[in-house]
Amino acid sequence: MIGGIDPRGQFLLIGRQLRRNPRRTVLTFLGLLIAFFLYTSLENVLGALRGVIANVASETIIFLAPRSSVSFLTAELPRRYTAQVREMEGIAAATPLRFYFGKGRSEEGFIMALAVEAEPYMRIYRPPSVTAEELRALAAEPNGALVGQRVLEANQWRVGDRVSLRSVAGLAPLDLRIVGDVAADDRLGGVVVLHIAYLDKLIGGEGWATFIQARVARPELAVSLSRAIDERFASFSVPTETKTEKAHTGSFVAGLAEVLGALRAVGMMTLLVTLLVVTNAVAMSVRERTVEIGTLRALGFGRGHVMGLVIGESMLVSLLGGVTGTLAAYLLFASGAIRLPVSGITFGADVGVLARAVLLSIPLGALAGLQPAWNAVRIPITQALRHAD
């Protein structure tokens, strides 16, 4: 209730004013909807990436990468380092790792294939859903592959199928036999795991790796072993930079987060621009109603009442647009439709983000209505009434 106006009447006045110029109201509403949709989406993505660092990455898996550059697209690390890493005390298993990016049946997105030495890789990380029989089949088939269920589903493949993976980089295609699958919610649920020897045979590059991945026996060894590994290879032709998976994923995500941070700033700018658009729309509406506002003042509505009505209108349209845009983004993310198939990161919907965005729409509306509301009551009543002449 604003300063003594009956709440029902107040809501009636605010609601009816929004119907005065439906086109303007709808356009303002759509602007708000889009702005809040973008804002909520970006916040969800950032939240999911933070979640990956916090929950998914392991402290016992370490990555060796060339110190000079870290790229998924090149293989610049001598593969012979693997054997030396395996010999170090505290290392439980190690494998060289290369990547291959290709397309299957689906033309949407692309599939990330990890080429590894299967036996040590499965000692570093074995998905719980992979059976001993599947592991044996993988070991027995030179072109065998374990395929994540998300990839199977997207390409309508089944375990046992012989499938072809076409390179997106113009390399030779991979002809694989699917020997097993990995649960969709597993970290490997969105990738293909194959033998590095098979990849070497098809595209060359034997003797090189993109990363070397290893498991340390205990988490507390990760930092000291990483340092020891880097010291060992410091004078080699390719010095290494070793990080735990958590740090490694973190640096990857940090790079991505920088981009997303910039997008977040764009999202905030969108909200700011929308604030100005709403301010302008409310100001236009108020200008058109100068006589009406003068009449309300003559009938006894105080400055506070009129300001409350104008700000109320702005808050209502902002809340409606904010809730709709935020809910649309929330439902889209909750449906699981937004995910990065390559990294396996699924962007869920965060109720906290939803609540924050909805709550943000209220002060945004109030802020947008403030200046037009002040203008509405600043003009003397007699002058406002004369506006009709």
Binding site: G4, I5, D6, R8, G9, Q10, L12, L13, R16, Q17, R19, R20, V291, E292, G294, T295, L296, R297, A298, L299, G300, F301, G302, R303, H305, P380, I381, T382, L385, A388
Partner: protein
Amino acid sequence: MNRPLVEIRALRKTYRRGSTDVPVLENLDLSIEAGEFVALMGPSGSGKSTLLNLIAGLDRPTSGTVKIGGRDIQKLADRELDRWRNRSIGFIFQLYNLVPVLTALENVELPLLLAPIASRVRRERAAAALRIVGLAARMEHRPTELSGGEQQRVAIARALVSDPVLFLADEPTGDLDTRSADEILALMQFLNKTAGKTFVMVTHDPRAAERASRTVHLEKGRLVNGA
């Protein structure tokens, strides 16, 4: 002897235009008894509307006093003045000044939104006011769906609904055809005579002024007769 409902003493109003003060009302004295129907006449720029605005508390005088029902409204703070206007004054404007997005009934309800009464009572009172002005069948119509005369009747109902002590009408028939103007004047006269309501009406129209019980002429901010 009863005090007049409206007591105006030594009223002056000047407006500032650039660096000069332009006098609009000069040392004006006027008394209006409760139950009177006063027509304020005079040429354009004579100060009729300014006087009406000062009586309504829409503007503040440069000097002098305006007492309504014995109360010096100049001494009221802005909020008190708003509240007083809501309870004591009924406005009738030349162009009706209805809110186009509200129905006739909702327009009439407007002054009562500030009163501490239940919404059911508010609607009943607004409906009763519309019945008095002969618009029982048009309550749910928007202003654009009503004729000029009907819109002015809604405006009269809106002025009537809070049962004010004083009705102020600024050229209430100025935008109406002769027939509608007669109907509106007859309605105002009816409210004056049967309900004892006090009216102050600004008009240029001598035929409208004939309906009043007294006509006051203004020229160059001064009363020339009828005070």
